[in-house]
């Protein structure tokens, strides 16, 4: 049975390695994701951000512009997630502590 597990893992690793051979090279300017227009002839967001981030917000750090401006609702969701996590620790830990005292 253990041999079977190892065989399954090796097979899965083989599939992953075979799939990774088809990936495009990183930083190749001819990639589809680095093109200015996508297949459906709409603007690609990565290209747009690299070209227009400084003109839009005058911020040299492109990542800040993407997180804070272009994808700001996503960042708002992350903040809500952190806030909810804190509130849940407040609920769970405090109620347990009070029950133990009484």
């Amino acid at each position: 049975m253990k041999l079977f597990k190892v065989l399954i893992l090796a097979l899965f690793a083989g599939v992953l390695i075979y799939a990774s051979l088809d990936l495009p090279y990183r930083g190749d300017p001819d990639n589809r994701m680095h093109a200015e227009r996508s297949i459906t002839d709409s603007r690609v967001i990565g290209n747009y951000a690299i070209q227009e981030a400084y003109n839009d917000a005058h911020t040299p750090n492109m990542v800040t512009v993407i997180l804070g401006d272009y994808r700001s609702i996503d960042t708002f969701g992350e903040q809500i997630v952190i806030y909810t996590a804190g509130l849940i620790t407040l609920l769970v830990l405090r109620s347990n502590r009070r029950r133990r005292k009484s």
Binding site: S72, F76, Q79
Partner: protein, 146 residues
């Protein structure tokens, strides 16, 4: 762990380090436009500077720095800063979180976006700091000395 005791040397070291970590946290938040960083990382650093005092000094000392009941209001203020920035931009004619429509007179749209990003980073930093401190406070409640 009931056999804890005060160590003045550890407390002195923590008191020496804590303000510098806090200043560095604010630097990471406000310098996020030019270098790696931003609200989440700076908030974690602010929480580290507060938790250092809490770990080394106990509740009696940390009560003088940031009280426990202030955690939840600070987190809510952080969320509200973010949300109200988006809401004000929406009320004054743009989309939600469209900083170019913020009603600050005498500024070009790109400087408005610059300022809007800065405001929401401060909000994120406040929330992350308050929540991390809140998690620590809830975990050690009742087992702390002092």
């Amino acid at each position: 762990m009931r056999t804890q005791f005060h160590s003045p040397i550890v407390l002195l070291g923590a008191r020496l380090l804590s303000p510098y970590i806090m200043v560095f946290g604010w630097y990471v938040i406000f310098h996020g436009h030019y270098s790696p960083g931003g609200g989440f990382q700076g908030g974690a650093l602010l929480a580290a500077s507060i938790l250092l005092i809490r770990v080394s000094g106990g509740r009696m000392v940390s009560r003088k720095q940031l009280q426990e009941y202030l955690n939840t209001p600070l987190a809510i203020i952080g969320v509200l800063i973010y949300f109200l920035t988006g809401l004000v931009a929406m009320i004054s004619g743009g989309y939600f979180l469209d900083y170019g429509q913020l009603p600050i007179p005498g500024m070009e749209p790109y400087w408005l976006r610059y300022t809007g990003i800065l405001i929401i980073e401060v909000g994120i930093g406040l929330t992350v700091m308050a929540i991390l401190v809140m998690i620590y406070d809830n975990m050690v409640k009742g087992e702390d000395y002092g």
